[in-house]
């Protein structure tokens, strides 16, 4: 198993390095001089030159890349051009909104999808299955931000149960803060749950046709035990794969959903940064999200080893 884990780790590290080069290269070819941007149009060429030296913008390309990477590793992302505060401070504040949102959505989507998938698979072809999969088919087609708008209309405008947007901050109390994350999380989770339920169903049906399931039934195990203990466990690999991929979509989805609900998360920050051409912020957030996606996929690879004993024994 160690060999397997090491291989996945190496691949993840390699991907991360390549990704950092891509992000750095993109930001390099962008027009505009950060020093000029910070000092404004009235600054003299000399002043700009001094700041450029201070910021290390005149150093050779490779050196600047290494410096940037070293900064990333020590959580020093540089200073925001427009806010004049360290980027890490901005990011830390916003991550406290985006990360809980993505995690709640992921948990919600899993909690909904797995039982629905199991339900459908165990009643394959019957009315319950047809109904559940019809709903899933519809759910896959719904854009999360439109679903969010409909939720706002129903629960915030009509029923006035939850706030339509905004975030009071965690200092306002966990419940109050969570309340403003409920609708965004549901909006993110349901379309994802629809996809996951379909995958769980087809993976389970595949497993339920295997011989060892018949053996388990033949030795007198109740259907429920076979379904949940034997079949579900073996159907987990495709489910985990999709779950990993979904986290990437959820992170991207968070960016859009935050704009629907006016949540002060990474997504709002990145769009503000784009309009203000605060490129160091854009660069940092993109790198952070890409790193998160790579890390999650690595965790999924690791969890294969836990779920699938065959990988554990392999050298």
């Amino acid at each position: 198993m160690t060999a397997y884990l090491l291989k996945r780790l190496t691949i993840a590290a390699l991907t991360l390095v390549l990704a950092s080069m891509v992000v750095f290269a993109v930001m390099e070819i962008l027009p505009g001089d950060p020093a000029r941007l910070m000092l404004g149009l009235n600054a003299s060429a000399d002043q700009v030159e001094v700041l450029r030296n201070q910021m290390g913008l005149n150093a050779p390309l490779l050196l600047r890349y290494l410096h940037w990477v070293a900064g990333l590793l020590s959580l020093d992302f540089g200073r925001s051009y427009t806010y004049s505060v360290p980027v890490i401070d901005l990011v830390r504040e916003r991550i406290a909104v985006s990360l809980p949102l993505a995690l709640i959505a992921l948990a919600l989507s899993t909690i909904i999808a797995i039982p629905v998938g199991v339900f459908s698979a165990s009643r394959q072809g019957r009315a319950g299955d047809t109904l559940a999969m019809g709903a899933a088919q519809l759910g896959v087609a719904v854009p999360n931000f439109w679903f969010a708008l409909m939720l706002i209309y129903l629960f915030a405008v009509w029923l006035r149960l939850v706030p339509a947007g905004g975030f009071p901050g965690w200092s306002a109390g966990i419940w109050t803060a969570l309340k403003s994350l409920i609708l965004p999380a549901v909006a993110l989770a349901l379309p994802q749950a629809a996809i996951l339920a379909r995958v769980a169903r087809s993976a389970l049906i595949e497993v339920l046709n295997e011989d060892y399931i018949r053996t388990a039934r033949a030795k007198g195990l109740p259907y429920r035990a076979v379904l949940w203990r034997h079949a579900l466990r073996n159907a987990m690999i495709p489910v985990l794969t999709i779950l990993g991929l979904q986290f990437a979509f959820l992170l991207a989805g968070t960016i859009i959903i935050e704009n629907v609900f006016y949540l002060p998360g990474l997504g709002r920050l990145i769009f503000q940064a784009i309009t203000q051409r605060d490129l160091i912020v854009v660069e940092s957030i993109v790198m952070l999200l890409v790193a998160a996606v790579i890390l999650i996929n690595l965790l999924v690879d690791f969890s294969y080893a836990i779920v699938d004993p065959r990988l554990r024994g392999r050298q």
Binding site: T15, L18, V23, P143, W146, V157, I256, V293
Partner: protein
């Protein structure tokens, strides 16, 4: 989830008969054709001119004159949805084209060569997968500014590794087969075998994946134009219409409801079509039923 590939041993008539017996396929095809026809009609006729602003008619509820109501500029929502369909279809179609055009040769090449080439290509695949379409769109927009073309590029780039993986997996299953060995024995080169024997045998997989990516492309395009990274006004796009609707949810909910339903119906149609094609052409699903 593993797809096994069997050679098509059935006749065209047999496939057609199955197609007409498949509900998913028929409904999906009908919806998809409807959307395409509506988009085509919009080139020659729409109920109202979408470029003319009629402030006197602004935010009118659905009526006989305006079936889906009007927006904050007095533009007819139905007409805008019709014109917006063009944009959605064009963006998603070209993005699928980019993904297939580059991804399939890459995947087929990786499968044919194996070894280091395969490994290297798969690592590049991992790299692209690490950038969700929205993130690459953000970076591309940061460089070139927002626009429909940049949305196409961003979604297209994300499609490349998807098709590369499908093509590679499909091709890997075909290469060891006897008829490939026969072709090699007959002296055919790698490229010729790939084009003449591998490609026709993975066409089904690619077609199914194509409809899925088409549907995803429509969703992605809507998301991008919703956050202002896609088609720019005055070009109507479904995502942009939803953005305009957002602040007017209380007074004019129809501005949000109908463009959203256009997206849902289109994506639903494409997904049903994809499921239907997979059912008809995948020999495995036949056994299952």
């Amino acid at each position: 989830m593993t797809m096994r590939i069997d050679l098509p041993e059935e006749t065209l008539a047999g496939v057609l008969a199955k197609a007409f017996g498949n509900r998913s396929f028929l409904i999906g095809l009908a919806i998809t054709l409807l959307v395409v026809v509506v988009a085509l009609i919009s080139f020659v006729w729409t109920p109202y001119d979408v470029t003319r602003l009629v402030i006197a008619d602004k935010t009118q509820a659905p009526s006989w004159a305006h079936w889906f109501g009007t927006d904050h500029f007095g533009r007819d929502i139905l007409s805008m949805i019709m014109v917006g369909a063009r944009n959605s279809i064009a963006v998603a179609l070209v993005a699928v084209g980019i993904g297939m055009g580059l991804g399939v040769p890459l995947g087929a090449f990786a499968a044919a060569r194996g070894g280091v080439v395969d490994q290297a290509l798969m690592r590049v695949n991992d790299l692209v997968f690490a950038f969700p379409a929205l993130l690459s769109a953000i970076m591309i927009t940061a460089i070139f500014g927002p626009g429909a073309v940049n949305a196409i590029i961003a979604i297209g780039i994300f499609n490349i590794p998807v098709f590369a993986r499908v093509a590679r997996a499909g091709a890997l299953a075909i290469w060891p087969r006897e008829f490939i060995l026969a072709a090699r024995a007959a002296g055919k080169g790698m490229t010729r075998i790939a084009v003449e024997h591998i490609l026709p045998n993975i066409a089904t997989l690619l077609l199914v994946q194509g409809t899925i990516q088409f549907a995803l492309g429509i969703l992605a395009e809507a998301g991008l134009s919703y956050v202002g990274l896609g088609a720019q006004p005055p070009m109507p796009s479904w995502g942009r219409m939803l953005f305009d609707a957002q602040t007017r949810m209380v007074t004019a909910p129809w501005m949000a409801i109908f463009p959203g339903m256009a997206i849902v119906v289109t994506v639903l149609g494409l997904n049903l079509l994809g499921d239907g094609i997979a059912d008809i052409l995948d020999p495995k699903s036949r056994r299952r039923r």
